[in-house]
Symmetry: C2
Subunit: 448 residues, 2 copies
């Protein structure tokens, strides 16, 4: 008997699951992927570079084409097909074909829910005006690029990774950019002294950052013209709402899939939901956080890839587990490499850890070699045990991969004393003899 896997959502998690399951079960399983947008397998993290024009075509955002999936992996891909309902008891989904304008039922033995996330809205009037956007899909990116071409003033609501990467993109396009924020801190999953370094950089590139802002409404006749706030009106021909992601769990909820305390789908390490034969992963699901030892909602492509593959392996008959995440994230914000892993001080406190945080600045390269910049390394250490709980790093070079050393250290459960003793490479063009990581760990081990 041939089994049937239905995958809802054709980006990182869904396609990884379909590929892994099909590879294992081959002819014993048929898989089909329904994706409501017109694109699958896209690198959402690269969308800002498409919008700015650095990446020329939407097709350049695609990792694996539908043709490759269909021909090489024997997985039919149904784009512009939206799953609108699941009948779990009878084992089928209802699909709206957005091209053919018809609806049909598709039976399943296994279901992979990889419905992703939605951009949070503002919940104010005028949000539906032309020129007001969120950024998730390739279609969003295309719309923003189109919309911004003739705009002079762009307003970004929110100061997370997407907001700041898009600030860079808009500046590269020659736009006047204003970031409106409620809280005084950007990048809320960094400690305040670290995110302040990013503020400086963003402001130095001509971006206006205004904090303490409540957005009251978005104004305009057909297209957005102004954003009305508690501090007055701000001119804008394009508005990007970048307030973060909301897990898209409505279909899952509808069939009684358990939702975790984070609001995303609860899964075990095999990516199983509470319902037999129903798996989930990616931006709609939680992941186990190795440091807090609690489920977390940190929607990122790397996690989606891994979780999807684990789901697919289990659907494919293996018993594999996703050990979890430590919350590593890297971003290029103008000329800065901005990176974090583990828990911030605030997060660590929330989870009941008593922590010591320290910050050091040290050279990215040997002082005997031309060039190089100063890197700021920030460590969060548990008092008493000396266990490393988190790290943040900002600099103009040598940050993006150095953070991974600390991600590995976190995953290994290292103390800052262990980190201090790491045998890190030294060559003048790339690092000083005492690497910034070792300098930071030395300070932390003495103090914590």
């Amino acid at each position: 008997m041939t089994e049937k896997l239905v995958v809802i959502g054709g980006v990182a998690a869904g396609l990884s699951a379909a590929s892994a399951a099909k590879r294992l079960k081959k002819d014993r399983m048929n898989a089909v992927v329904f994706e409501k947008s017109g694109y699958i397998s896209y690198g959402a993290c690269s969308e800002p570079y498409f919008i700015s024009g650095l990446v020329p075509e939407p097709e350049d955002l695609i990792e694996v084409t539908p043709e490759e999936f269909e021909q090489k992996r024997s997985i039919p891909i149904r784009r512009l097909h939206e799953v609108v309902d699941i009948d779990y008891k009878n084992g089928y989904v209802t699909v709206d074909d957005l091209i053919g304008h018809r609806s049909f039922k598709e039976p399943f033995d296994f279901l992979m829910i990889s419905t992703g996330a939605l951009g949070k809205g503002l919940g104010v009037e005028g949000e539906q005006l032309r020129g007001v956007h969120t950024l998730r899909t390739v279609e969003d990116a295309i719309a923003i690029r189109q919309s911004t071409l003739n705009s002079e003033d762009v307003v970004i609501c929110g100061g997370g990774y997407i907001g700041l990467e898009m600030a860079e993109a808009f500046v590269a396009m020659g736009k006047r950019v204003t970031i409106l924020k409620k809280t005084s801190q950007m990048l809320l999953n960094f400690d305040p002294d670290m995110s302040a370094l990013v503020d400086e950089e963003v402001k130095s590139k001509g971006v206006t950052i205004t904090t303490g802002i409540d957005i009251l409404s978005i104004e305009g006749s057909e297209r957005v013209e102004r954003v009305a706030t508690n501090a007055g009106k701000v001119k804008a021909e394009t508005v990007l709402i970048a307030k973060g992601a909301l897990p898209n769990v409505s279909l899952a909820k509808g069939i009684g899939v358990e939702i975790g305390s984070t609001g995303a789908i609860a899964v075990n390490k095999r990516q199983e939901t509470n319902l037999p034969h129903v798996y989930a992963g990616g931006d709609c699901a939680e992941a186990y956080h190795i440091i807090s030892r609690k489920p977390a909602y940190i929607p990122l492509g790397t996690t989606a890839n891994k979780a999807g593959r684990v789901a697919g392996e289990n659907i494919g008959g293996l018993h594999t587990e996703f050990p979890g995440i430590v919350g590593t994230a890297v971003s290029k914000i103008f000329d800065l490499e901005v990176a974090r892993t583990g828990l911030s001080t605030k997060e660590a406190n929330l989870y009941g850890f008593d922590v010591y945080a320290n910050t050091v600045r040290h050279r990215s390269r040997s002082k005997h070699y031309p060039g190089g910049y100063s890197i700021t390394v920030h460590l969060i250490t548990e008092k008493g045990t000396g266990k490393l709980l988190g790290a943040q790093m900002i600099g103009r070079e040598g940050v993006a991969h150095r953070i991974d050393v600390l991600a590995a250290a976190l995953q290994a459960g290292m103390t800052v004393d262990d980190v201090y003793h790491l045998d890190l490479g030294y060559a003048p063009p790339f690092a000083p003899a005492w690497d910034p990581i070792l300098i930071a760990a030395n300070t932390a081990r003495k103090a914590s």
Copy 2:
């Protein structure tokens, strides 16, 4: 009573030891550092960049000046002072003052032996001719720079890091460069398929590599003119002998300090030799290798810094240990970042490990972001256990710090399955969603 620490050798290990001990014991200890050359605290790894002219002055190679040591750390520095004899029983050293041309005795309670290493010679006639060099000290670097300025043809004997970094330096100076080697493989602590990538790069820059060479003699009247080999004579106005380092242990041997099987001074994790109150560290000493679980001789500045600090801490009254090394080394060779950590296949076999080695090529950045190169990642895994034993990585970007992730993994005792599950950062300008490290680990875990 004030104690007296005599440090023999004023570079990484010796100065780290003096600083740590003095910081701990303050007025209860006097320390003095004797350095036979005219420079202390220099970055030997940067010497090739001084020779090529990228680093303008010899002083630019200095990490901490003698004045800073004397004024800020209260440690007298005696340059051009050579310790020629140790009377361990009576607790003094005999010092030749090479400036004042006098000899004197200096008493000690603690002795730090940080006598470094000597460049291996060829043991052939003509080695003493002008224009024939080894590279260890700043004086060597100055002499090579001077010597090479009017040379057209430069011959390098040896194909290790120093030989290859110097090949780059000589090419940058516009010289015709020939590397003469006995074995067919360069960089012998890499696996052959990896070092072959470096060969390609070096040749593509116009360097002639000739292998299977026995050097018979160096010819010339006053200055070198030719290198005579089993394959004929090679024109050369400058010859660099880069055959590796020999630990400088004669003083230590003279007083009965135990020499290990590697030929370097045997020390425990506190950097103690077999003689009470006599410590050693740096390029004259062994270090414990965490993966082979045996003493190793891998003379590098990072190890010297750490070993010296541990020696100083123990001299200073603490009980601290140097957990050891995993053999991480990074080098820039022309446009390549070349890095390794842990054991090579050959080394692993020597230590009795049954290994599986695999190589993958993957992008340094996301394919959705402009630029980027392919990185070659090579993992050495223990069969059966899946334990990571070593890693090598070569590419035009993103290698120098990525290797440190695997150094941390080695130090944590990770399996390749653990490495595959690392939560590494992803951002299109810096890494693909599946980092090359994860791709390599995934192949290794399936096979080993």
